[in-house]
Point group: C2
Chain length 210, copies 2
């Protein structure tokens, strides 16, 4: 997959050295525990070393919304400084997390680690990738009907998988949230698409017939 990670291109020894230089802390969290709360008011960068977590927003009504699913290699905390609602990161499996202060990324360390450039480049690419992912979601959400939203979503999956057959990464409840529509209405529209011969489905496998 050639995934970008914040330490890509830096060898393991140097990563260790750098983390020491950054005064990074690595902690293991149990499932369903809080990794960090009130993220918006910190200058912390976190990296998921292993496991999965969710970036959660608690809005004014007390609703918890999953803003982002974090997995191995994901970073969090880099961009939400302007959020006024409370953000937190919750482990959804046993989870190893490294955190350090954002300052270390932008300000050169005194020892001016030679691999610092590499980290910044990776960071830019991670952010750029995030922008692409968000753009995809906006494209989908901007469509007016559930059918159009679904077809746009399928089209993105088709591109990513380079195949007209793929497995949904979200369950239907999550997909409804992702598309910003009512779940039952989503089910109805999927049924319609099947009946009209646009798609075939089997569990979470989708096959596009057009």
């Amino acid at each position: 997959m050639n995934e970008i990670s914040i330490f890509r291109g830096i060898d393991e020894q140097d990563v260790k050295y750098m983390l020491k230089c950054f005064q990074a802390k690595t902690i293991t969290y149990k499932k369903d525990t809080t990794i960090i709360s009130n993220l918006a008011n910190t200058n912390i960068i976190g990296i998921i070393i292993d496991g999965d977590a969710n970036l959660i927003r608690n809005d004014y009504n007390g609703n918890k919304i999953v803003l982002e699913k974090l997995e191995k290699g994901s970073i969090f905390g880099e961009v939400f400084s302007s959020y006024s609602d409370e953000l937190s990161v919750i482990a959804t499996s046993e989870c190893v997390v490294t955190t350090f202060d954002y300052e270390h990324i932008i300000k050169r360390c005194k020892k001016s680690c030679p691999y610092h450039n590499e980290v910044i480049n990776n960071m830019l690419q991670l952010l750029a990738k995030k922008v692409v992912v968000m753009n995809n979601r906006i494209d989908v959400l901007t469509k007016k009907t559930i059918r159009e939203k679904l077809l746009e979503y399928f089209s993105i999956q088709e591109k990513e998988n380079i195949s007209k057959t793929f497995y949904l990464k979200l369950n239907f409840t999550e997909l409804a949230d992702y598309l910003g529509v009512d779940r039952s209405a989503l089910m109805r529209e999927i049924k319609n698409l099947k009946n009209e011969g646009f798609i075939e489905t089997k569990l979470n496998r989708i096959k596009l017939l057009y």
Copy 2:
């Protein structure tokens, strides 16, 4: 406004030097002319030095969608590499634009300009700001009804202006596109909000009464 720009914190002389080092080109475009076409296939970074432009997507139907409004200080081209549709940038007023190759940002130049760090930091912050803006839009688009979308949009404007009275930056046609809804349905809902005493409007000025 303390706006971030890619050259913030670097004095004018050094910016000039750096642009030379980057082999940057600065060109003035007339209104409605194409600044760059097929952006997705380039590694170019552009900076709007003066004037306004639109980042346009030509989708498969030939529809032109305004993805982003660019103004003085905006940068473009850095993150859209994965778009398969054609992207272009069109001047919406007389427009001075500087372009250079993305490589210059990430790879240290041979002379290793001392202000290079500053540029990278600014670049990170610009991207981060973009992520925040996109997050706002996703928050709005995810709401199910036009009323909820409008109220969320107003709430963001209220925060940004720190006032319950503010002027819309978009006209109603553009706002309808931004919210992903039909324009006439949007007008209807604004009328309802007025009749029910939630807002007052006068031209593009909105006053929240709650």
